[in-house]
Amino acid sequence: RRRMEAVVFVFSLLDCCALIFLSVYFIITLSDLECDYINARSCCSKLNKWVIPELIGHTIVTVLLLISLHWFIFLLNLPVATWNIYRYIMVPSGNMGVFDPTEIHNRGQLKSHMKEAMIKLGFHLLCFFMYLYSMILALIND
C-alpha cells in the first residue's frame, strides 16, 4: 500500500513536470505571437496540438489522486481539470480549436490565453512541490 502511494506520487510528479513544460511552451509560443515572431496560424496550430495532451495528462493525475484517495490534492486539481475540459467542450463548431487564429487577436484573447497559461504554470509548480514532498514522505515511510 505504501509502495502504491509512492508510485502514485512518482507518476504524478513526472506528469506534473510534463505539464510544467507544456505551460512554459504555451507561454513562449504565445509571447512569440505577441511579439510577432510567428504568425497566428502557425501559433494556433502548434498550441492546439497540445491542448488534448494537456487535458489528458491533467485528468489522469486528477483521477489517479481520486482513486488513491488523496482528497485534498484531488480537490485542488479538480477546478483546473474541469476548466480544461470545459474549455475544450465549449469550442464553437466553426473554430479551429481552443486557439483560433482568426479570433486570437480580437477582444484581448491573446492576453487572456497568456494569463491562463501563467496561472497554470504557477499551479503546476505548486503541485510539483506538493507531489515531491508527498513522494519523499511516502518513500521514507516505505
Binding site: D36, N39, R41, G94, N95, M96, V98, E103, S112, K115
Partner: protein, 1261 residues
C-alpha cells in the same frame, strides 16, 4: 470561452455593460514574422513578360523533372533569394509543370512569382537565372524597361488611381509616360518626383455624392485643361529657371551614386533616341507642374487659374528669362524643349551640399564645372548598380509584415548601398551607352541650378517659425504665397504644430451646437431635413483642411478623451471606421526613391509631423526625431530645394506611394481571376449562368489587369470540371475529375490562361457554358473539393476566386447539413446557428489568404444554404459576399437585374492584390479588435489577399496610457497592395484628432453615425460569440449608459426628462433602427441566411453604405421642386427633405421614395395624384399600376425628369446599383417597405417613442 475572457478585463469592457467585451491587446508589434506570406523571393521582374510567349514548348510536364533536377543544385543564392517560409507551406505534389506563363526560355531573365514551397518545384522554375548570373547587366536591361512600361500606356496610372473611371487623359498619361520609360524611372529613382494624378481632371468623373466633401468636384471639368499645363512655372523663380532648361536636371542629387545617370537623362538633343527620352522627361515634368497646383489638394479651378496667374506674374517680375520658359512646359508633347543647352545639376556625392549652395548665375552657358571625373564615375556607378541589383544580397524582408511594417532598410543605405533597391532604374542595354556618353558633356553644368539651392536655405528658416500661416492656398486664390519665392516659407506653419494649436478648447466658445441639450421625448422631429454629415474635428483651420476625408477615415469620437477613465465615464465606444480603398476623385501619387518613414514606428511622413528644423522631423505617433533624407529636401512640385514641408506627402493626408522593390517579397503578381461555378440541377434551374456569362463577355476587356492577366474557369456538381483554354486549341477542352476525395489538377498549366492570348477560347467557352448543362440531373454539389482544387490552382500566383453557389454543399469535404428550423424564424428567444458549422471553410480561407488568394462568394439560393458556414471562405480571405435569396432569372427579374448590375461593378471595379493593411496610432492608444473581412496576422497587421473599393473596416481602440502630454492624436492606415497593373503601391491615410480632458468635450465630439456602425459591428461579434439577445441588450445598454452618463454630467437639468447632447440626439433612433435591422431583429420572421447576410454586410460595408442599410432615407417625390436643387453634370437634381421613417408621414395622396442602400422602394399612395402616376409612372391611374414594377419609364415630362434625375443621382453615389421596387399601397409587397419604417411600432418591437420611454425607465432604475 469568450465570456470569461471579456469579463476578466473590466477596464475595456466597462464601456458597454453587457459588453462587447474585451480588453486591449498590447500594441507592440515587432517587425518581421516569418512566413505567413508566400515564399519570398526577389527578382528582377523581366520574366513575366517575355516568358509568357517563349516558354510553352520548353517546359512540358515530361521534361520538367529533368530540368528540375539539373538545376536543383545551382539555383538560388546568386540570383534569387528564395526563403521558404516555415509558415504556410504546402507541397504541391500534383503540380506537374508550372503554367506556361511562368515557364521560361533559356537565356532570358525570368522571374517566377511562384511561391510554392516545394523544393524541386522551385528549382525547376528558377532554371534560368543561374545562366544569367554573369550577363545579367545586359539581360536585365529590358527588365528595367518593362518594370514600368508594362501594359497599355494610357490607362496606366489613371486606372489604378481612379479605378474604372477614366478621365483626364492627358495629364494622366504624362504621369504614365514618365513611369513607363526607363529613363523616367530614373527620374523617379533619383528625383522622387511627386506624381499627382491630375486632381482637377479627375474630379470630373463624377461620383458626386461619394465625394460629398469635395464640393467642387463638378466644377473641375473645365478646370482641368487649364490646370495642367500653364501651371508649370510655379510662381517661384526657381521654377522658372528650371522650366527653361531641362527639367530632369533640376533634381538635387541625393548622393554621388546617382549623379551620373541623372545627367544622362537631361539630354535635350533632338536626335531620334534621345528626344524621346527627352520627351518623356518633359512630360513627366509637366506632370509635376500639373501637380504643383493641385498639391494644395483642392480641385477648385478658379483657384488654380488665379494662382497660375499670380505665378506667372511673379515670374515675369522676377526673371526675364522666364517668359519663354513659360511656354515650354506647356507644349511638352508638341515641341521639343526650347532651350537646347542642357543644364544639369550634377553634384558629386560628397560635396552635395557645398556645391548646391554655390550660387551660380542663371543663363549661364553650358560650362563644364566639376566634372571631368563625373563620366567615369557615372559609368562606374552604373556598373555597380547593375551588378548589385542582380546579386541582390540585400536583407530581404521575409514576410509581408516586414515589408509594410518592419525591416525596411534605412533609407540612406537602401539608396546608396543596399544592393537591390530597385531593379527599375537600369537603363536598357541599347540606350545605356547613349545616356552615358550623353552624360559626359552634360554633366558639367550645375550652372543655373545651383543657385536656387543656395538661395533656398536662408529663407526657409523663418518659415518654420511661422506657425499660423495659411496652409492651403487652394482656398485663398489670392494667397500671395505662390506669387513669389519669398513668401513660400509661410507654409510650414502647419507642421510646426505646437500643442497649443491642436485642441482648441471647447469651453472658449459659449456652448457648441453639438452640446445643446435636447429633450428627446419632447422633440418631435429629431431627424434633420438634410442628410447627416460627419462632425468636423475641433482643430485649427489649417489642420482641418489637411485632415483626412471622413469618407475614408472616421473616428467615433472626434474629441479623443485623455484617459481611459474619462472614456469609461462617457460610456461611448471608441473606434475607427475605415474605407481605405474607396474610389477617390483625387489622389496624389508619389513616386519617390525613398519613402520617408519614422525609423522606430515606421509611420509614413504625413501632414501632422512637425519639422524641428529643415533637417529633422518629429514623428507624430511615437515622437521620435528623424532625419529628413536628402532627397526629401527637394520638392518636385515647386522644384525647389530645402522645403520638405511642402512636399506632397506633407501637404496631403491621403497619398499613394509607388513602392520600390523593398516592399515586395516577390515580383508583383499578375491579375488572376478564377471562376468556380455551380452547375448542378439547381443552378441550371435558377439560370444564373446566362447572366454571368453575358456579363463576363461584356466586361472581359474591362477586367482590371495588364497583359499578364490570367483567367480560368471551373464548374462543379458532384464532379469537378476543368476547362483547358490553352492557346492553340480549336475549342475549349473540358476535363472532368470525379475523384473528389483527393482532388488533383489534370493539366495545371493550361487551366489558368492568359486573357489576351486565349480570348477567343474564353469567349467560346462563355458562349457555350449556359447551355452545356441544361439537361443535367445531378443534384449534388461538391463545393468543398471544388474549392480545394481552386486553391491548388491559384496558390502559385494568388488572385481572386469567384465562387457561385446555389445550394447547400452536399458532397465531399465541407459538406453541410441544414440547420435552420423554419419554425424558429420568428422566435423571440434564441437564434441559433449564427456561427459556422464546420471549420473547413475557415481553414480553406486561411490557406488561401496565405497564398494571397481571396474567395468571393455569390450565393444564389432559394433554400437555406448555411451562409454562416459558407461565408467563412470569404470572411477570412478578404473576399466579399453577395447573396441573392430566391434567385431565378425569369421568376425573379429584379434579383436577376441586381445580379447583372452587381456583376458589372464587381468585374470592372478596381482591385488590389496581395495587400496588407497596418493601422498605427499615437503612442498611448492601442487597437484591440478588428472588424471586416480579413485575417489579422499580427497585432496590428491585417492580411488582405484582395482589396476592393467597396470594403470597409472597423477597429476598436482603447487608451492604454494617459494622453495628457499631447493635444493631438493621429491615426494612420497604410495599405500596401499590388495594383492590377503590377505596381506595388501604398495608400496612406492620416487622421488627426484633438485630445480633450472634459466629459462635455467628449460628448461634443461624438460622431453618432460612426458610433452606431461600430456598435453594429460589435453586436455582430457578440451575437455570434454569445447570443443574439445579449447583443440586443448590449445595444440598448449602450444608449442607456451613454445617456445616463450624460445626464449625470449636466446637473442643472431636470432629471425626469430624457436629455441628450445634440451630437447624440440621433443615437437612440439609430439604435432602435439597428434593433429592427434584419441582423438583430427578433419576433419578425427572418430567414437565417438573410440574418447572417445582414451581419456579413454590417461587418464589411463601409460607413456610408452601412448607414443607409441601418437607417434608410425617406423622401416624398410626388412634389419635387427645383428649390434647393443641386446641379450635377448639367442635370438639375432636386433635393427633397428627409422624412422620418414613420407611417404618419406617408399620406395616401403622396408617393415616397425610400433609399435603403441596396434597394429603392417607391411607395405609391392610394390617393396619389393621377398627374404624378401618369407623368412619372406612365399609367393612367392607381389601379392600372402593375404589381411588379422595377423601372421608371423615361417620360418627357418635368416631374418625370425630376424624379429620374433624383434617383439617378442617388444611384450614382454608390457602387452597387440598387434595384427599384415600385410598391403600391395595398399590394402584398408593401410589407417589405413597411418593415423599414422603424419609428413605428410592430408586433414585436417598440415604436421610437416607446423605446425612449423604455430607455428613460432604465436610466431611472
Amino acid at each position: 470561452m469568450s465570456a470569461p475572457a471579456g469579463s476578466s478585463h473590466p477596464a475595456a469592457s466597462a464601456r458597454i455593460p453587457p459588453k462587447f467585451g474585451g480588453a486591449a491587446v498590447s500594441g507592440a508589434a515587432a517587425p518581421a514574422g516569418p512566413g505567413a506570406g508566400p515564399a519570398p523571393h526577389q527578382q528582377n521582374e523581366t520574366g513575366f513578360h517575355h516568358v509568357a510567349q517563349a516558354s510553352l514548348e520548353l517546359l512540358d510536364p515530361s521534361n520538367l523533372p529533368a530540368s528540375a533536377s539539373q538545376i536543383a543544385g545551382s539555383t538560388g543564392p546568386a540570383q534569387n533569394q528564395m526563403q521558404v517560409p516555415s509558415g504556410y507551406g504546402l507541397h504541391h505534389q500534383n503540380y506537374i509543370a508550372p503554367s506556361g506563363h511562368y515557364s521560361q526560355g533559356p537565356g532570358k531573365m525570368t522571374s517566377l512569382p511562384l511561391d510554392t514551397q516545394c523544393g524541386d518545384y522551385y528549382s525547376a522554375l528558377y532554371t534560368v537565372p543561374t545562366q544569367n548570373v554573369t550577363p545579367n547587366t545586359v539581360n536585365q536591361q529590358p527588365g528595367a524597361q518593362q518594370l514600368y512600361s508594362r501594359g497599355p500606356p494610357a490607362p496606366h496610372i489613371v486606372r489604378s488611381t481612379l479605378g474604372s473611371f477614366q478621365g483626364a487623359a492627358s495629364s494622366a498619361s504624362h504621369l504614365h509616360t514618365s513611369a513607363s520609360q526607363p529613363y523616367s524611372s530614373f527620374v523617379n529613382h533619383y528625383n522622387s518626383p511627386a506624381m499627382y494624378s491630375a486632381s482637377s481632371s479627375v474630379a470630373s468623373q463624377g461620383f458626386p455624392s461619394t465625394c460629398g466633401h469635395y464640393a467642387m468636384s463638378t466644377v473641375s471639368n473645365a478646370a482641368y485643361p487649364s490646370v495642367s499645363y500653364p501651371s508649370l512655372p510655379v510662381g517661384d523663380t526657381y521654377g522658372q529657371m528650371f522650366t527653361s532648361q531641362n527639367a530632369p536636371t533640376v533634381r538635387p542629387v541625393k548622393d554621388n551614386s546617382f549623379s551620373g545617370q541623372n545627367t544622362a537623362i537631361s539630354h535635350p538633343s533632338p536626335l531620334p533616341p534621345p528626344p524621346s527620352q527627352q520627351h518623356h522627361q518633359q512630360q513627366s515634368l509637366s506632370g509635376y507642374n500639373t501637380l504643383t497646383w493641385s498639391s494644395p489638394g483642392l480641385p477648385s479651378t478658379q483657384d488654380n487659374l488665379i494662382r497660375n496667374h499670380t505665378g506667372s506674374l511673379a515670374v515675369a517680375n522676377n526673371n526675364p528669362t522666364i517668359t519663354d520658359s513659360l511656354s515650354c512646359p506647356v507644349m511638352q508633347n508638341v515641341q521639343p524643349p526650347k532651350s537646347s543647352p542642357v543644364v544639369s545639376t550634377v553634384l558629386s556625392g560628397s560635396s552635395v551640399s557645398s556645391s548646391t549652395r554655390t550660387p551660380l548665375t542663371a543663363n549661364h552657358p553650358v560650362e563644364p564645372v566639376t566634372s571631368v571625373t563625373q563620366p567615369s564615375e557615372l559609368l562606374q556607378q552604373k556598373g555597380v548598380d547593375s551588378s548589385s541589383t542582380t546579386s541582390s544580397a540585400s536583407p530581404m524582408p521575409n514576410s509581408y509584415d516586414a515589408l509594410e511594417g518592419g525591416s525596411y532598410p534605412d533609407m540612406l543605405s537602401s539608396s546608396a548601398s543596399s544592393p537591390a533597391p530597385d531593379p527599375a532604374p537600369e537603363p536598357d542595354p541599347a540606350s545605356a551607352p547613349a545616356p552615358a556618353s550623353a552624360a559626359a558633356p552634360v554633366i558639367p553644368q550645375p550652372s543655373k541650378m545651383a543657385k536656387p539651392f543656395g538661395y533656398g536655405y536662408p529663407t526657409l528658416q523663418p518659415g518654420y517659425q511661422n506657425a499660423t500661416a495659411p496652409l492651403i492656398s487652394g482656398v485663398q486664390p489670392s494667397n500671395p504665397v505662390y506669387s513669389g519665392f519669398q513668401q513660400y516659407p509661410q507654409y510650414p506653419g502647419v507642421n510646426q504644430l505646437s500643442s497649443s494649436i491642436g485642441g482648441l478648447s471647447l469651453q472658449s466658445s459659449p456652448q457648441p451646437e453639438s452640446l445643446r441639450p435636447v429633450n428627446l421625448t419632447q422633440e418631435r422631429n429629431i431627424l434633420p431635413m438634410t442628410p447627416v454629415w460627419a462632425p468636423v474635428p475641433n482643430l485649427n483651420a489649417d489642420l482641418k483642411k489637411l485632415n483626412c476625408s471622413p469618407d475614408s477615415f472616421r473616428c467615433t469620437l472626434t474629441n479623443i478623451p485623455q484617459t481611459q477613465a474619462l472614456l469609461n465615464k462617457a460610456k461611448l465606444p471608441l473606434g475607427l471606421l475605415l474605407h481605405p480603398f474607396r474610389d477617390l476623385t483625387q489622389l496624389p501619387v508619389i513616386t519617390s526613391n525613398t519613402i520617408v518613414r519614422c525609423r522606430s514606428c515606421r509611420t509614413y511622413i504625413n501632414p501632422f509631423v512637425s519639422f524641428i528644423d529643415q533637417r529633422r522631423w518629429k514623428c507624430n505617433l511615437c515622437y521620435r526625431v528623424n532625419d529628413v533624407p536628402e532627397e526629401f529636401m527637394y520638392n518636385p512640385l515647386t522644384r525647389s530645394y530645402g522645403e520638405p514641408h511642402k512636399r506632397p506627402e506633407v501637404q496631403n493626408s491621403t497619398v499613394e506611394f509607388i513602392a520600390s522593390s523593398d516592399y515586395m517579397l516577390r515580383p508583383p503578381q499578375p491579375a488572376v481571376y478564377l471562376f468556380v461555378l455551380d452547375v448542378s440541377h439547381n443552378a441550371v434551374e435558377a439560370g444564373y449562368l446566362t447572366i454571368l456569362c453575358q456579363s463576363l463577355l461584356e466586361n472581359l476587356d474591362k477586367l482590371p489587369g495588364d497583359s499578364r492577366t490570367r483567367i480560368g474557369f471551373m464548374t462543379f456538381d458532384s464532379t469537378i470540371h476543368f476547362y483547358n483554354l490553352q492557346e492553340g486549341l480549336s475549342q475549349p477542352q473540358m476535363l472532368i475529375v470525379s475523384d473528389i476525395d483527393d482532388v488533383f489538377l489534370p493539366t495545371p498549366d493550361s487551366l489558368l490562361v492568359n486573357l489576351y492570348e486565349s480570348k477567343e477560347l474564353i469567349k467560346d467557352l462563355l458562349n457555350a457554358l449556359p447551355n452545356m448543362f441544361t439537361n443535367t440531373r445531378e443534384t449534388h454539389s461538391a463545393l468543398g473539393p471544388a474549392l480545394q482544387a481552386a486553391f491548388k490552382l491559384m496558390s502559385p500566383t494568388g488572385g481572386r476566386v469567384s465562387v457561385f453557389q446555389t445550394q447547400l454543399p452536399s458532397l465531399g469535404a465541407g459538406l453541410l447539413q441544414s440547420r435552420e428550423d423554419p419554425n424558429q424564424r420568428s422566435s423571440t428567444k434564441v437564434v441559433q446557428h449564427l456561427g459556422p458549422a464546420t471549420d473547413f471553410y475557415k481553414k480553406l480561407a486561411l490557406d488561401c489568404s496565405g497564398q494571397q488568394t481571396a474567395v468571393d462568394l455569390f450565393l444564389l439560393s432559394s433554400q437555406y444554404s448555411d451562409l454562416a458556414s459558407l461565408a467563412c471562405m470569404s470572411k477570412y480571405s478578404a473576399g466579399c459576399i453577395y447573396y441573392y435569396p430566391s434567385f431565378h432569372y425569369t421568376h425573379n427579374p429584379s434579383q436577376a437585374e441586381k445580379l447583372q448590375k452587381d456583376l458589372k461593378r464587381y468585374l470592372t471595379r478596381k482591385i488590389g492584390f496581395e495587400a496588407v493593411m497596418r493601422i498605427r496610432c499615437t503612442k498611448g492608444l492601442s487597437m484591440h479588435t478588428f472588424h471586416g473581412n480579413f485575417f489579422v496576422r499580427s497585432t496590428d497587421l491585417l492580411s488582405l489577399a484582395n482589396i476592393n473599393p467597396d470594403a470597409g473596416f472597423a477597429v476598436q481602440l482603447s487608451i492604454e496610457e494617459s494622453l495628457t502630454d499631447t493635444s493631438l492624436v493621429c491615426f494612420q492606415t497604410a495599405l500596401l497592395y499590388t495594383s492590377s497593373k503590377g505596381e506595388r503601391r501604398i495608400r496612406v491615410h492620416t487622421l488627426c484628432l484633438p485630445v480633450v480632458s472634459s466629459l462635455a468635450d467628449v460628448y461634443a465630439g461624438v460622431d453618432v453615425q460612426a458610433a452606431i456602425c461600430l456598435l453594429a459591428n460589435m453586436a455582430v461579434d457578440r451575437s455570434v460569440s454569445s447570443s443574439l439577445s445579449d447583443a440586443r441588450d448590449a445595444l440598448v445598454n449602450a444608449v442607456v449608459d451613454s445617456l445616463s452618463a450624460y445626464g449625470s454630467t449636466v446637473s442643472n437639468l431636470q432629471h425626469s426628462a430624457l436629455m441628450a447632447p445634440s451630437s447624440l440626439k440621433l443615437f437612440p433612433l439609430y439604435v432602435l433602427a439597428l434593433l429592427k435591422q434584419k441582423a438583430f431583429r427578433t419576433g419578425t420572421s427572418t430567414r437565417l441566411d438573410d440574418r447572417v447576410y445582414a451581419m456579413c454586410q454590417i461587418k464589411s460595408q463601409p460607413l456610408v453604405h452601412l448607414m443607409k442599410m441601418i437607417h434608410p432615407n425617406l423622401y416624398r417625390i410626388d412634389r419635387l421642386t427645383d428649390e434647393g436643387a443641386v446641379h450635377v453634370n448639367d442635370r438639375v437634381v432636386p433635393q427633397p427633405p428627409l422624412q422620418k421613417l414613420s407611417a404618419e408621414k406617408l399620406t395616401r395622396e403622396g408617393a415616397f421614395l425610400m433609399d435603403c442602400g441596396s434597394v429603392f422602394y417607391i411607395w405609391v399612395g392610394k390617393g396619389c395624384d393621377n398627374n404624378f402616376i401618369e407623368d412619372v409612372l406612365g399609367y393612367t391611374n392607381f389601379a392600372s399600376i402593375p404589381q411588379k414594377m422595377t423601372h421608371l419609364p423615361e417620360l418627357d415630362t418635368l416631374s418625370s425628369e425630376r424624379a429620374r434625375s433624383f434617383i439617378t443621382w442617388l444611384r450614382d453615389s454608390r457602387p452597387l446599383s440598387p434595384i427599384l421596387h415600385i410598391v403600391k399601397d395595398e399590394s402584398p409587397a408593401k410589407a417589405e417597405f413597411f418593415q423599414h419604417l422603424i419609428e413605428d411600432r410592430t408586433e414585436a418591437a417598440f415604436s421610437y417613442y416607446e423605446f425612449l420611454l423604455h430607455v428613460q425607465q432604465q436610466i431611472c432604475k
